[in-house]
C-alpha cells in the first residue's frame, strides 16, 4: 500500500498530514457542521487555510513554543482546527471535558499551566473566568460564539474569527515564524495531552507523541480498511482519546470527512442525515436505541408488529452468519433478502446505520442480545479494547471473528502479556510518553521495557487468541482453593437478564460463591401483571415464590455458562438471595454512576452474607433506608435463601 511506504519517511506530525491532505484531497470534504439547518462543509484545502489563519493569529497573540492551549467545548470543526493550529505553532493542545465543573477545570488548567484557552461559548467562558484567579499562567481566552458576551471585559477575551482575521492581516509578518515552527515538528514531539477522567484520584495528563497518534491511526485504519471515503459523526467528548484518534488521527491519516452535529440534542437526526460509514458508540447508546425501537414496536399496528417479530427472528437465525460470510442456504438467504426490504433496511435507515461498514463499541460489557440484534440486521458492530495510555487500540475484533464475549485479538504491532494475578499488560507503538508532571505514576504504570499495566484482569482464549476481559484487576480475587474469583464477570452475566437489575457476587477467599440479586421492578412487574400476580410493594414482589423460581432459573443458566470457562468455573453461584430493597446510591450502596460499592454492601448486609454461608434456609433482617427527602427509616423482612444447581468442574472430577 502506498500509505505504508509513506509511514516512516512520510508526514511526521498532524500539521504535516494536513499539508499533504490539502494537496492530495484538495477538493474533498474534510469537515461538515450543521448550522442554521444546513450542512456547511469545508474541503481539505479550505481547512488548511482556516487553520493557517488561526495559527498566525495565535502567533500574533504571543503563543510560545511548548505552551499548553486548553480547548473546551462540544464537537465543532473550529475546535478541531484549534488543536491543529496549536500544534502548528509548536504548542500542545489540551482538550478539556466540556461538562467539567469550574473547579475540575481549574485543576486541569492549573496543572498544565495553560496560557491560552479556546472555548466554545459563554457557558465555558464563564467557568474559566470564575476560576481565573487561581490560574497563575492563564493569559488569553478565545471564544467561538459571541452571544451574551458583548459586555464582557475584552482585554483578555478574543473572538475566534477576529483572531483569524488578525492572523490573515499579519500574514507577511508571521508566516516565516510559522514555517520555522511548523516544519521541524518531529515524530517524537508531543502531539496532544489528554486528561484521564480521574474516577480514582485527580485526573492525570497523558502525553501522546506524534508517533503514538500517527502509528495508531495508521495501524487501525489498515486493520479496518478505512479510506478517504469514510464519513464519521463526531459526537463523543473531544477530551476523550477515542474522539481524538477517530476525528483527528484517522481522519488526517486517511483523509476522511468528520461531521459535527448541530447540537447535542439533534445528534440522532444528524446521524440519520449523514449516514456514517464508520461509527463508534458506548454500549449504553446501543442499548437506548434498542429499547426505543422495542417500545415503538409495541405501539405499532398488529401487521407491522407481526412482520417485525417474524423477520427479526429470522435475522437472529441467519444474520450474523451472513455478516461473517459463513454458508447460509438459499431459502434462508431469500427470506433474509425479503426481510431486508421490509424490515431491516427501513429500520437501519431510521437508526442512521444504513451505510455503517465498521461499527465499534467499547468501554464496558455489552449484553449479548443487544450485540446480536445489531449484527443480525447486517450492521458490522465489533468490540475493541483500549485506553488513553495506549492511544486507544489494544485489541479489536477482526471482521468475521466477532463475538459478544471477547474484545478481539491484539491490534497490529501490539504485544500482550498476562501477569500471574491475571492483569493484562501491553506494549505497542501507541504507548504514551508520560503522565505530565507525575513521574511516580508514570513509573508505576509503565515499566522500563515499555510494558503498561491496564488495571484489568483477563485471559487469552486458547485456540482463537482472543482476549477476554473479566474484571478490574483490583476486584479479582482468589477463592479458598486458589481458583480465580471474578465477581463482575458473573454479575454482568446475571444483569443481562431483563429481570435482574443488579447483582453482587461474594466469594473472595471462600469455598464457594454466593450472590445478592435485585429484581428489575419494571420487567418483573410487567410479567406479574400479565400473569395476574398481585403485589403491593417491591419487597412483596421480590419475595414471591414464582419470582424466586424465575430468578433461580436465571442463576442456574449463568452457572452453566460460567462452568464452560475452565478458569472461572469456580465462580458458579451456589446460594443466592433476592434482596428486599433496591440497592441505592442514596443509601451509599451504589456510586452515583450506579457501580456497586462492595465493601459497604458487605458491611451493611453482613448478617445476610453470614446466612448465605451457614446453610440456613431463611434470614430475618432489618435494614436502614434513606428516603428521597433525606429522612431515614427501616425495613425488616424475612428472606428466603435458595440453593442453585451448579455444574461439576470437569477438571476437579478428573483429579479426584
Amino acid at each position: 500500500m502506498a500509505e505504508k511506504q509513506t509511514a516512516v519517511s512520510g508526514p511526521q506530525s498532524i500539521p504535516a498530514l494536513l499539508k499533504r491532505n490539502a494537496v492530495q484531497f484538495a477538493d474533498k470534504s474534510a469537515y461538515r457542521e450543521k448550522e442554521f439547518g444546513i450542512w456547511q462543509s469545508w474541503t481539505w484545502s479550505e481547512v488548511a487555510k482556516e487553520i493557517e489563519a488561526l495559527a498566525l493569529g495565535l502567533l500574533n497573540l504571543g503563543v510560545n513554543k511548548g505552551d499548553f492551549i486548553a480547548i473546551i467545548g462540544r464537537n465543532r470543526p473550529y475546535l478541531y482546527w484549534s488543536m491543529v493550529a496549536a500544534q502548528s505553532v509548536g504548542a500542545i493542545p489540551v482538550p478539556v471535558y466540556q461538562d467539567a465543573s469550574a473547579d475540575e477545570m481549574a485543576y486541569v488548567l492549573e496543572h498544565c499551566g495553560a496560557r491560552f484557552v479556546i472555548a466554545d461559548d459563554q457557558e465555558q467562558v464563564d467557568k474559566v473566568i470564575e476560576v481565573q484567579d487561581q490560574l497563575h499562567q492563564f493569559e488569553h481566552m478565545i471564544y467561538l460564539d459571541p452571544r451574551g458576551m458583548r459586555k464582557y471585559d475584552h482585554s483578555k477575551l478574543h473572538q475566534f474569527s477576529h483572531v483569524q482575521d488578525q492572523g490573515r492581516a499579519a500574514y507577511d509578518e508571521f508566516i516565516n515564524e510559522l514555517n520555522a515552527r511548523r516544519e521541524p515538528i518531529g515524530y517524537d514531539d508531543q502531539c496532544v495531552m489528554l486528561y484521564t477522567s480521574g474516577t480514582t484520584g485527580k485526573p492525570k495528563g497523558v502525553v501522546l507523541s506524534n508517533r503514538n497518534v500517527i502509528e495508531s491511526a495508521r495501524n487501525s485504519s489498515e486493520f479496518d480498511h478505512l479510506g478517504a471515503g469514510e464519513e464519521i459523526l463526531a459526537y463523543l467528548p473531544m477530551a476523550w482519546v477515542g474522539d481524538f484518534i477517530f476525528s483527528i488521527g484517522q481522519a488526517y491519516w486517511t483523509g476522511f470527512c468528520v461531521n459535527c452535529p448541530e447540537n447535542a440534542e439533534t445528534m440522532m437526526q444528524d446521524l440519520r442525515e449523514i449516514g456514517p460509514t464508520y461509527y463508534f458508540a458506548p454500549p449504553r447508546v446501543f442499548e437506548t436505541q434498542l429499547t426505543n425501537v422495542m417500545i415503538r414496536m409495541e405501539d405499532a399496528g398488529r401487521l407491522k408488529k407481526k412482520l417485525f417479530d417474524r423477520y427479526m427472528a429470522h435475522a437472529r437465525k441467519v444474520g450474523p452468519d451472513l455478516l461473517d460470510g459463513r454458508p447460509v442456504g438459499f431459502a434462508d438467504r431469500l427470506k433474509y433478502w425479503i426481510g431486508d426490504k421490509l424490515v431491516y433496511g427501513p429500520l437501519k435507515n431510521t437508526l442512521g446505520f444504513t451505510r455503517v461498514r465498521v461499527g465499534y463499541t467499547a468501554g464496558e460489557a455489552i449484553g449479548p442480545e443487544i450485540f446480536d440484534f445489531y449484527r443480525s440486521l447486517g450492521i458490522n458492530l465489533k468490540q475493541l479494547y483500549g485506553q488513553t495510555e495506549a492511544t486507544v487500540f489494544i485489541t479489536a475484533q477482526p471482521d468475521g471473528e466477532v463475538r459478544s464475549d471477547t474484545v478481539g485479538v491484539p491490534c497490529p504491532d501490539v504485544e500482550l502479556k498476562i501477569a500471574d494475578n491475571g492483569e493484562v499488560f501491553y506494549r505497542s507503538p501507541g504507548v504514551f510518553v508520560e503522565y505530565y508532571k507525575n513521574p511516580e505514576s508514570t513509573a508505576g504504570t509503565k515499566d522500563d521495557e515499555g510494558w503498561v499495566a491496564t488495571g484489568d484482569a483477563g485471559f487469552i482464549e486458547e485456540g482463537t487468541g482472543h482476549l477476554r476481559i473479566i474484571d478490574r484487576a483490583k476486584d479479582v480475587g482468589k477463592m479458598a482453593d486458589e481458583s480465580l474469583f471474578a465477581p463482575k464477570y458473573v454479575e454482568n452475566k446475571l444483569k443481562f437478564f431483563p429481570n435482574i437489575l443488579e447483582a453482587v457476587v461474594f466469594g473472595n477467599g471462600r469455598e464457594e460463591c454466593t450472590a445478592f440479586i435485585n429484581i428489575d421492578l419494571t420487567a418483573v412487574g410487567n410479567w406479574a401483571e400479565r400473569n395476574n400476580i398481585a403485589y403491593a410493594s417491591y419487597q412483596e414482589l421480590a419475595g414471591h415464590p414464582e419470582v424466586l423460581g424465575a430468578i433461580q432459573d436465571h442463576v442456574e443458566e449463568v452457572n452453566a455458562s460460567v462452568a464452560a470457562d475452565e478458569m472461572l468455573s469456580g465462580c458458579q453461584i451456589h446460594r443466592f438471595v433476592v434482596l428486599h430493597k433496591e440497592l441505592d446510591a442514596d443509601d451509599g450502596e451504589l456510586t452515583r454512576t450506579r457501580k456497586v460499592r462492595r465493601r459497604i454492601i458487605e458491611e451493611k448486609f453482613s448478617d445476610i452474607i453470614a446466612a448465605l454461608y451457614d446453610g440456613s434456609n431463611s434470614i430475618s433482617t432489618t435494614t436502614e433506608v434513606t428516603y428521597e427527602d433525606g429522612r431515614k427509616g427501616a425495613i425488616s423482612a424475612t428472606l428466603d435463601i435458595r440453593s442453585a444447581k451448579t455444574v461439576a468442574d470437569a477438571r476437579k472430577m478428573a483429579a479426584e
Binding site: K34, E35, F36, G37, I38, R147, G148, R150, K151, E262, N263, E265, T266, Q269
Partner: protein
C-alpha cells in the same frame, strides 16, 4: 434621573434610551367592571419593563392595551412620540410590536419551523399567485425568511425540534417556540405575558437567560408580566406594580421592594 428625556444607565451599565411608548391616564372598563383605573407609565428604548401584581390586578388587560387589542375608554397610548389611534392587531404588528400569550396560542398541528415562519408574515409581500407556484419573489422571500427563522431557532436552541409538530412538545418548549415566533417578527417592542408561568426551575432559568439575551443581542425593548417575584426582580430594569386596577408602585426593583403599598398588596391587607 428617570425624568430625563434622554434616558438613564442601569446598574449593569446598559444605556436606556428615550420613551418608546407612553400610557397616559388609561382607564379600561368592561361593562360595569373597571379593569384599569387611570394608569400612566412609560416604556423606554432598550429596557426590560415588568408589570406585576396579584391575581386579577389587571396586568393582562394592561398588556392588551399596550398591544392595541383593547381600546381604553379614557386616556391615550403614545407610541414613538405620537398618539396611537385604535388599530387592528395586524396593524400593531406592522409597527414592530410582537407578543406571546399567557395561554399558549400556537398552531398545534404545524411544525415548530412553520410556526416560527408565521412570525415572518409581516415581512412577506409576494402575491398569492407567486406563492402558489413558488417562483420569483416568493422563492427569494421564503429563502430570506427561512434564514431569519433558522437564526432564531439557533438562538433559542430548539434545533432538535425544528420539524416536530407543536402538539407533541412539552409546555416549557411550547413557551420557547412562542417566543421564537414573536422574535421572528424582529420586533422593536416585545410583550411577554407570563413567560415563566407553569415552568420548573430549570425551564425558568433558561427562559430568563433567553429574555436577557434577546434584550442584549437584538436591543429589543421588552415589557413583561410575571408572577414569579424572584424572576421579576432579577430581570427587569423598572417595575410597575398594579393592584385592583390601580398603579400602586413604579420604579427600580429595589424601590418597588421597599414600597409599603406593594408589600401590603402582596402580603394581603384588608381593602376597605
Amino acid at each position: 434621573m428617570l425624568d430625563q428625556a434622554e434616558g438613564y444607565t442601569t446598574a449593569d451599565g446598559r444605556k436606556i434610551g428615550g420613551v418608546v411608548m407612553e400610557m397616559k391616564n388609561i382607564t379600561l372598563k368592561f361593562g360595569g367592571v373597571t379593569a384599569i383605573k387611570d394608569i400612566s407609565f412609560d416604556i423606554r428604548e432598550g429596557e426590560i419593563r415588568a408589570i406585576i401584581g396579584p391575581n386579577g390586578a389587571g396586568k393582562s388587560s394592561m398588556l392588551n392595551v399596550v398591544s392595541g387589542f383593547y381600546v381604553p375608554q379614557e386616556g391615550e397610548v403614545w407610541y414613538r412620540g405620537a398618539p396611537r389611534p385604535p388599530m387592528k392587531p395586524y396593524e400593531v404588528a406592522r409597527q414592530g410590536i410582537a407578543r406571546t400569550f399567557q395561554n399558549i396560542a400556537l398552531f398545534e398541528g404545524m411544525s415548530v419551523l412553520d410556526n416560527v415562519m408565521t412570525g415572518r408574515l409581516t415581512h412577506m409581500s409576494a402575491g398569492i399567485g407567486a406563492q402558489a407556484i413558488w417562483k420569483g419573489k416568493a422563492e427569494a422571500e421564503e429563502t430570506a425568511n427561512r434564514e431569519v427563522a433558522e437564526k432564531i431557532i439557533d438562538f433559542l436552541e430548539i434545533q432538535s425540534i425544528r420539524k416536530t409538530p407543536v402538539a407533541r412538545l412539552p409546555y416549557g418548549l411550547k413557551k420557547r417556540v412562542e417566543l421564537a415566533r414573536a422574535l421572528a417578527a424582529e420586533p422593536q417592542l416585545l410583550l411577554l405575558d407570563e413567560p415563566m408561568a407553569g415552568m420548573n426551575v430549570e425551564e425558568k432559568e433558561d427562559m430568563c437567560r433567553f429574555v436577557l439575551d434577546v434584550n442584549d443581542e437584538f436591543g429589543t425593548t421588552i415589557a413583561l408580566i410575571e408572577h414569579d417575584m424572584g424572576v421579576v426582580m432579577d430581570l427587569s430594569d423598572r417595575v410597575v406594580v398594579m393592584d385592583y386596577g390601580k398603579k400602586i408602585g413604579d420604579g427600580t426593583p429595589d424601590e418597588v421592594r421597599a414600597n409599603q403599598e406593594v408589600i401590603d398588596a402582596y402580603l394581603g391587607v384588608s381593602h376597605d
